[in-house]
């Protein structure tokens, strides 16, 4: 059976200074997401996570262009769609939740107007039925007394509540897939847990697939089924969540895992030397080699291709990490 979403060899470049400066923000990214699955996209700022998501919903800034590749949603290639066609796909089949709810909500419209809009356009609800639908959506994201709160405006709500409203809007068009781009970064820890549990419950109820973009490996451990780690515009490792945490193959993934403090453990942390690369001036060979603990001569010259792993997943690295040594915990 074909996956719900299949991204193949996607390349999105930014062209600056009349095309003389090319930033390869997304450079040959392939992955697929099945219905009802949660797919994690992990990486540091500037590694191309967000550009990947914006490419999928075709909301790129004018300086960016999808150079090649395809994005198939239920068999249809989104790259070939016109913007008017995309308008019927966004909200109805793919929805997004962004980091800052205050930026994604319009301060001049009531919560009712904003939650009703996708249901009005995409599902043709009208009148009393529309009202009923909005009430259900707000109740599903656990807004207390939805009847009363839907007349409120975003500024009358707390940060956690606003983000739940954004979740209700995402659900309103009845999408098959929701892209959540760092949805809990601005929330406090206890509110973050509430929100993550809420997303899981919604997923269980509606069977929607989630693409979770984050730099927080803890969120990945909690939420995701499958994970792709991005570095400098490429997916360097993709595995099931357990595979990634227990048998990570790429030195970058392992370095990331070693650099995070763990609760109640006072081991020294591993600091990855150097800093994330400038996408406009990438090093030759593997772009991670200047920071890699295991860099070899080959890594400086030749870019590693994608090796398939036994089982499921793939990795871009020249290093044959032996299965035993890579096992952890």
């Amino acid at each position: 059976m074909a996956p719900l979403l299949r991204v193949s060899d996607l390349r999105t470049y930014y062209f600056g200074f009349r095309g003389t400066r090319v930033v390869k923000a997304v450079d040959g990214v392939s992955f697929s997401v099945e219905a009802g699955e949660t797919f994690g996209l992990v990486g540091e700022s500037g590694c191309g996570k967000t550009t990947t998501c914006h490419s999928i919903v075709r909301l790129l800034p004018p300086s960016a262009q999808i150079v090649s590749g395809s994005i198939e949603l239920e068999g249809e290639d989104l790259v070939k769609k016109s913007q008017p066609e995309m308008r019927r796909i966004r909200g109805r089949r793919i929805a997004t939740i962004l980091q800052d709810p205050m930026a994604s909500l319009d301060p001049l419209f009531s919560v009712y107007d904003q939650v009703a809009e996708p249901a009005y356009y995409h599902q043709s609800f009208r009148g009393q039925k529309l009202r009923q639908r909005v009430k259900e959506l707000l109740a599903a994201v656990r807004i207390p007394s939805p009847e009363r709160r839907m007349k409120d405006f975003p500024h009358q709500m707390s940060g956690g509540m606003r983000q739940r409203i954004v979740g209700a809007i995402a659900q309103a068009g009845g999408p098959r897939i929701i892209i959540a781009d760092e949805p809990t970064t601005n929330l406090d820890v206890t509110i973050q847990l509430q929100y993550l549990n809420l997303l899981k419950d919604l997923q269980r109820a509606t069977g929607v697939a989630l693409i979770f973009v984050t730099h927080n490996l803890g969120i990945v451990a909690k939420m995701c089924d499958k994970v792709a780690v991005m570095y400098a515009g490429k997916i360097v490792e993709m595995q099931s969540v357990r595979g990634l945490f227990y048998r990570s193959r790429h030195p970058y993934t392992r370095a990331l895992l070693d650099s995070i403090p763990k609760l109640g453990v006072k081991e020294p942390l591993y600091g990855i030397p150097g800093q994330p690369p400038d996408l406009a001036a990438l090093p030759a060979g593997c772009s991670f080699h200047p920071r890699c603990r295991h860099a070899m001569d080959r890594c400086r010259i030749e870019e590693p291709w994608q090796h398939n792993l036994i089982g499921d997943g793939n990795v871009r690295c020249w290093l044959p990490i032996d299965e035993e040594a890579a096992g952890r915990g």
């Binding site: 540091e44 700022s45 707390s158 956690g160 509540m161 406090d188 820890v189 206890t190 509110i191 973050q192 847990l193 509430q194 549990n197 730099h215 927080n216 490996l217 803890g218 969120i219 451990a221 909690k222 969540v241 357990r242 945490f245 227990y246 370095a255 990331l256 070693d258 650099s259 995070i260 403090p261 763990k262 609760l263 109640g264 453990v265 006072k266 020294p268 942390l269 591993y270 600091g271 990855i272 800093q275 994330p276 920071r291 915990g329």
Partner: protein
């Protein structure tokens, strides 16, 4: 037993809100409402809590940037309120700060050498050659090359900027540094470096830290003791490892339950708090945590629990333990 470097006793800061210049104020926000803690020389005290709980106000009080409404801060045995102007100036030399966002805490128009030299010039009478030598020494101390001194902040990455902010904080031989979320704004791969650098500097220089953050794992990693704050009050103070392994206060338990797992099969006691942090303008009666507490008892809504010692070095404010 050595004397604490910083001794904070029953510190309060209330902000009047509403009203106009002549009118009566409508109420007070009790941002910090009777907290007490100590920091020993060379020790790190972690301070955790959600936004709006008073962490930042506490740091401002410790930095003498705000005057407390009530309570006392003693530094090295001397009460801040009784210091003369000159002594207060010297206090400010010894207590420095590193902020969360190194993009806004460093002036974009000043060269690194000037940024680091500014506190030195303000507090010490040194010749310019001596200042230059100190700047070079400080840059090396935080792991930057001495030729960084001629550059401007925009020429550095986030992690390097945070190193500059640390160098500036240490430039006047500070004895206490307030670290207000020092790694939250940095990239994941850079955080470990800054945490390790802070730990190394503490070992070399014997400086004390007040480490404020919301990431429990990071706080527990860096600090020997951790204090948990909720709505202007401390609810639990304990050894960091003990706090991680056996949190006592229901709020601390909830915080730990809410912190994310380090691998997919880690199971946690599920404590999902209902609701959100109530407004500090109108805190609940009794224990301010009782409307969200899963273990609430009738007594909690009437009587405020006091922060009592339940075992040596461990204090909890909860009726469950008294």
């Amino acid at each position: 037993m050595d004397r604490p470097l910083l001794d904070v006793r029953d510190l309060r800061k209330h902000f009047p809100v509403g009203g106009s210049l002549f009118g009566k104020t409508r109420g007070v926000v009790k941002a910090v409402d009777g907290i007490s803690f100590t920091i020993k020389p060379g020790e790190t005290l972690g301070l955790v809590g959600e936004s709006g709980c008073g962490k930042t106000t506490t740091s401002k009080l410790v930095l003498a940037a705000e005057e407390p409404t009530a309570g006392a801060i003693e530094f090295d045995g001397r009460n801040l309120a009784e210091l003369s102007r000159a002594d207060l100036q010297d206090y400010r030399r010894q207590v420095q700060v590193v902020f969360q966002d190194p993009y806004s805490s460093l002036s974009p128009r000043m060269r690194v050498s000037d940024i680091i030299a500014e506190p030195i010039k303000a507090h010490e009478a040194l010749s310019s050659a001596e200042v230059r030598a100190r700047v070079t020494e400080l840059l090396e101390l935080v792991g930057l090359r001495p030729d960084a001194a001629r550059l401007f902040p925009h020429e550095f990455s986030g992690g390097q900027r945070q190193r500059l902010a640390i160098a500036r904080a240490l430039s006047t031989k500070a004895r206490l540094v307030v670290l207000d979320e020092p790694v939250s704004a940095l990239d994941v791969s850079i955080r470990a470096h800054i945490i390790t650098l802070l730990e190394e500097l503490q070992q070399r220089l014997g400086v004390s830290y007040l480490f404020i953050a919301h990431d429990l794992a990071a706080v527990a990693h860096v600090s020997q003791r951790t204090a948990v704050m909720y709505l202007g009050k401390l609810v639990e103070v304990a050894d960091s490892l003990e706090l991680c392994t056996s949190p006592l206060h229901p709020y601390t338990k909830a915080l730990f339950a809410a912190s994310l797992p380090s691998h997919p099969d880690e199971t946690r006691e599920e404590i999902v708090l209902s609701g959100e942090v109530p407004s500090a303008l109108n805190p609940p009666r009794g224990c301010s945590f009782h409307p969200r507490c899963p273990f609430v008892m009738p007594r909690c809504s009437e009587q405020e629990p006091l922060l009592c010692e339940v075992s040596p070095g461990r204090r909890v404010a909860c009726h469950l333990y008294n």
